[in-house]
Amino acid sequence: MARIHLKNLDAVGRKHQKLLAGYKGLLLVCTGTGCVSAGGFVIRDSLQAMLKKRRLDKKWLVVQTGCNGFCAMGPILVVQPEGIFYEKLNEKSLEKVVEEHLVGGKPVKASMHKDLATGNPIPKMAQIPFFAKQQLVALRNKGIVDPENIESAIAMGAYAGLRKALTTMKPGDVLGEVVRSGIRGRGGAGFVTGVKWGACIKAVGPSLEHPERRPPVLVCNADEGDPGAFMDRSIIETDPHAVLEGMCLGAYAIGASEGFIYIRKEYPLAIERLEKAIAQARERGLLGRKILGSDFAFDIKVHRGAGAFVCGESTALMASMEGRVGEPRAKYVHNVESGYMGRPTVLNNVETWANVPVIVEKGGAWFGSIGTGDVAKSPWNGSSGTKVFSLVGNIANTGLVEVPMGIRLKEIIFDIGGGIPGGREFKAVQTGGPSGGCLPQSMLDLPVDFDSLTKAGSMMGSGGMIVMDDRTCMVDVAKYFIDFLKDESCGKCTPCREGLIAVSEILGAITRGQATEALLGELEGLCDTMAVSSLCQLGATAPNPVLSTLKYFRDEYVAHIRNHKCPAGVCKSLIRYEITPNCNGCHVCSRNCPTNCIAGEKKTLHVIDANACIKCGICRDVCKFDAVRVG
């Protein structure tokens, strides 16, 4: 394939657009990981075969896309140009769509999304409430481009920002736009990206301290350790060129010729697409030497992470890239001074990089106008731009959403997310991953931005947003996070290693009803020690899930301690399963019980033998009459 030059980038895009325009319409099949698990590849291939059989393959073009966002509804197909949205497809319903819609011209109501309140079918994607309040910047090409076809990305404007930079901007101008945008890192800490880049440029030298120029390195953090979050995976699976272009722009601004993407090995599809994208970009002259025919050179290598949460931390990540175990070091010396192999290194998150091309193309001021605060004076003045969240847990519409900073929690959870399913009640929302906290009902008016979330005792983090209903025990959730971190602590420093063990033991005692209220004071004391004396942020922020639940859900801790009750019905030592008179004696529970401890004649009230019950909860899951109660 021919290399692309500054002059013919547009022509390449136009050619692809012309190719698309030659079809009557496009059939966008989601092949993100979520949809694939539900049969996305099968749908893609069957659709192709059905078109061929009917000789429709010259009329309709099947395009495989990355994650569309509404993953819980997969497999998903969007029919363009009308934008008709089909969900939960199987081969039978797909055949119907082909026959009735593509051949007959009549969209199929049965496979459309249904309004949560009325049950009425919603034909167009744009009319579905889940998509209505979103604003796409990082996810600008989601569900539209084929991540395995660079021309498809170029047709949607990929690399236009890079061309603009190489033709009309000096490296300092690119830095200027990033500073002006006020963008803060999307990976967790929310450090101002422009400031980080500026510091690295200074460290490159030559300077008094380093008389020789030291070649800098760029790293993209795709380790995505936050359990319950998949923004970075989706961006890479959907639009890998957005990340590559962002890194090219960073390299141009900072003067780097070498970059790495550190990606966790649990993401095989993302790794595959990333490697394909890099190969295509090299072949077409968008990576490597003489990028777009200019004198600018930059290349990217992929590093697979071997599964350690702490390796998302910047110094641990550098260590593991050098082939050592991922233990953090004290940050007296910053990575921008001495990172990978002792070289000045800029580390940014996937989503941060994916925003850069838009910032360069549309200008930092445009980006700064989205979100909260006036970042023109100081980037610390607010939170500019949008943020991608993975909206999951006990919520009706699970998936990936991108919203402007400053949107209220309740808008995300109720307007976009559709609230809590199954007639349950909202209890808490968790943001910031294991470093974050749980916020209660009373905080639902909180604007979602870096500073408001921190002030409330949680954190923006990387974008996990886990909604919990009234069947979630907050002590159990706190213990869950502490146990996660206990497992993932690298063990290098004592407050984190030993503190997590001690905190886990106290929480364990509470969930078993073996604690006294005095222990709560001890718990808070331990948390304070860990917060101030841990070496890295894993240990220092580990207390947040405990402190935030103690702050907002103290009653629940007290109920465990004083009354030996788990109000949510989760902590096994404190609950028992019972069958209420709602039981109509259908035998479903007794047939499913793994210990055969439910007795009862057909059509009479069943009874659980509490001594033999192992509290697996299966009877409650399978009962159609809501007759099993936890007390």
Binding site: G34, C71, E224, R233, I466, Y480, C616
Partner: protein, 152 residues
Amino acid sequence: MTTQKVDKILDRWKRDPQYAIEILQDIQDEHRHLPADVLHYVADALALPVGRLYHIGTFFKAFSLKPRGEHVLEVCMGTACHVRGAPRILDALSRELEVPEGGTTKDGKFTLEPVRCLGCCAIAPVVKVGKDLHGEIQAARVKTLVKKLAEG
């Protein structure tokens, strides 16, 4: 594992100790664990103390020093899966397979492995078997899932 195979992997990474983690990942992928003799061979080839490799092999979740089963059942224990009942799924699997967490069945067929987030949180709770992801798993359906897998 034959030395030729190990050599091929070593050559793929230019025998550079900087890629020690990558090299061990390739060995793990091919062999489902890191055998002691292979670790010693790699240590010699990279001129590293074998302790360094054991440190890596025990630090990262990707590695296992014991052989794993033919099918690894990875049960996601991430937050989204947790609030949708992942601990109950893990219990149910452990009961059906008659192995503890992290254990391998006697016939060497299955290993039960709790893992961190698999990145498909929207379809929680999730169990991954080989390349296949199973979403929205219910504890009551675990029995059928295990039966299907056992039959191949």
